[in-house]
Amino acid sequence: MIEDLELKLLLEGVYQRYGYDFRNYAHASIKRRIKRHMGMHEIASVSQLQDRVLHDAGLMDELLMDISVHVTDMFRDADFYRVFRQKVVPLLHTFPLFHIWHAGCSTGEEVYSLAILLHEEGLLDRARIYASDINEKALKTAREGIYSIDKMKTSISNYHASGGHADFSEYYIARYNNIMFDPDLRRHITFCNHNLATDAPFHEFEVILCRNVMIYFNNQLKTHAIELFHQSLSPLGLLALGAKESVHPEKYFESFDAQARIYRKVE
C-alpha cells in the first residue's frame, strides 16, 4: 500500500533529519497515532506530513508528543503491585541500598506508585530510583508530580486493591482541580531522558520496570531493549513487564512470578 511506503519514508526522514528513531516501532499503533495526528491537524497525506515536519522542527515536536506519549495510571494492575509487595519487597530488604530503573515512565504515575509502596514498606530511604522517558513534556509532568484531581478516584481504588491500607490523600495536597504529590516522595527519584532504542546502559540496577512500553516496539526493537535490560541488571536482578507482555528472547531471563510478569536475570 502506498500509505505504508509513505510511513516508512516519513520515519526514515525523521531519523535522518532529527535522530529520533521510530523505525522499529510496532506498525499498527504508530500508523494509527500518525493518522490521528494528521486528522487533528487536517493533513491530507503522510507525504504532506513528512514535508511539514522535515522543514519545521516545531511541527516535529508536536508529532513527537503524539507518537511517544503513553497513558498511565496510579497503581495500574493492582495485582502486580500486590505481588511486588509480597515477593520483591522481601528481597529488597536484604540490600542496604538498591537501584530501581523505571524505563518509559511517561508522566510518572507509576513511579509515584512505586515510591509510595516503598515508603510504606520502610524501604524508600534505601531506594535510588531512576525514571526515564524520551518525551520531555511527560518528564516535566512527572518531575512536578502534579496531576488532575479527576484521576484520583480510580487511583485510590487501585491503591487499595493493590494492598495499600493508608489514607491515600495523605500523600498529596489538593488545590483547585489538581493534586500534587508530597515532594518528599521524590527525594530519591531522578527523572531523566533516555532512549531505549539508541542509548547505552547507564547504571546497574536490582530491579527494572518496563511496563506497557515495549507493546509499542516491534520484535527487533523489543529484543534490543531486552538485551539492554539484561546488561543493566545486577546478577539475579528482576525485570517487570506489563500484564500481557512476556520476555522475548527468553534466553536472558527466567520466570520469577509468571502471573505478575516478573522475570529474573540469568547469566
Binding site: A26, H27, A28, S29, I215, K222, A243, K244
Partner: protein, 196 residues
C-alpha cells in the same frame, strides 16, 4: 441463494460485542466449524474481572481454541483471540497481534473500532466483520473501514438483539451490512465464506 460469486476468500474474522454479549457468543461460537481456516478476533466490552471467565466459558462451547491475546502473539488459523481487559487489540501483521494502551475510543478499551480498523488495514477485502448487541456506537466506524476495504460486513439483526444500539449505529454507517440472526450464524457463514 448463495452462488459461487458470493463466496469470499476470508482470512480473518473480527467480532465486536458489548452488553448482552455472553449469551450471543454462547450461541454463535458453537456454530464455528472445527476446520475454520482463519483466525477470529473478538472484542467484548466487559469489566476487567469478567474476562477470564469468558475465555473459560467460550472454550467449553467452541470447537476452536479460545485464548486471551498477548502482545506480539503469533496468529494461528482456527484460533480465537479475545482482547484482554483494558488493552486495545490490534492486528500487527497477518501473523501477529499487538496490544495498545492508547486512550479509550468511545469510552471503550478494548475498542471494537480499533480492532476492525487494524484488521481492514492488514487483511483488506479478506476480512469479515460483525457488530453485535451493545450500547453505544463502538464498531460503527470500524465496520465502515472494513466496508471501504472491500471486506464482508454484518451486524446482529437489531430487530432481535438484546441491545440493538450498536448494530443500529453500524447499519447507519454501512447500510449494506448483512443482518444476521445468531441462530442462523453458521448457515450464513457457510454461504459467504469460500472454504467452510
Amino acid at each position: 441463494m448463495p452462488t459461487a460469486e458470493n463466496h469470499t476468500d476470508i482470512r480473518a474474522m473480527v467480532i465486536g460485542i458489548s452488553a448482552g454479549g455472553v449469551q450471543v457468543l454462547s450461541k454463535i461460537m458453537p456454530q464455528l466449524p472445527e476446520k475454520t481456516p482463519f483466525p477470529i478476533f473478538l472484542v467484548e466490552h466487559t469489566k476487567a474481572s469478567g474476562k477470564h471467565y469468558l475465555c473459560d466459558i467460550l472454550n467449553e462451547v467452541c470447537a476452536l481454541p479460545v485464548c486471551e491475546a498477548e502482545d506480539k502473539m503469533r496468529i494461528e488459523p482456527g484460533h480465537v483471540y479475545l482482547a484482554p481487559p483494558d488493552y486495545h487489540l490490534l492486528i500487527e501483521s497477518s501473523d501477529s497481534i499487538a496490544l495498545s494502551m492508547d486512550n479509550p475510543v468511545h469510552y471503550c478499551r478494548p475498542s471494537i473500532d480499533m480492532l476492525f480498523e487494524s484488521a481492514a488495514d492488514v487483511f483488506r477485502s479478506h476480512v469479515l466483520g460483525i457488530v453485535c448487541t451493545g450500547m453505544g456506537r463502538d464498531g460503527a466506524d470500524g465496520l465502515l473501514e472494513i466496508h471501504q476495504a472491500g471486506g464482508v460486513c454484518a451486524v446482529e439483526d437489531p430487530a432481535t438483539a438484546e441491545y440493538p444500539f450498536m448494530p443500529q449505529a453500524a447499519l447507519a454507517s454501512v447500510p449494506d451490512a448483512q443482518r444476521i440472526s445468531p441462530d442462523k450464524f453458521g448457515l450464513w457463514l457457510a454461504s459467504v465464506v469460500i472454504s467452510i
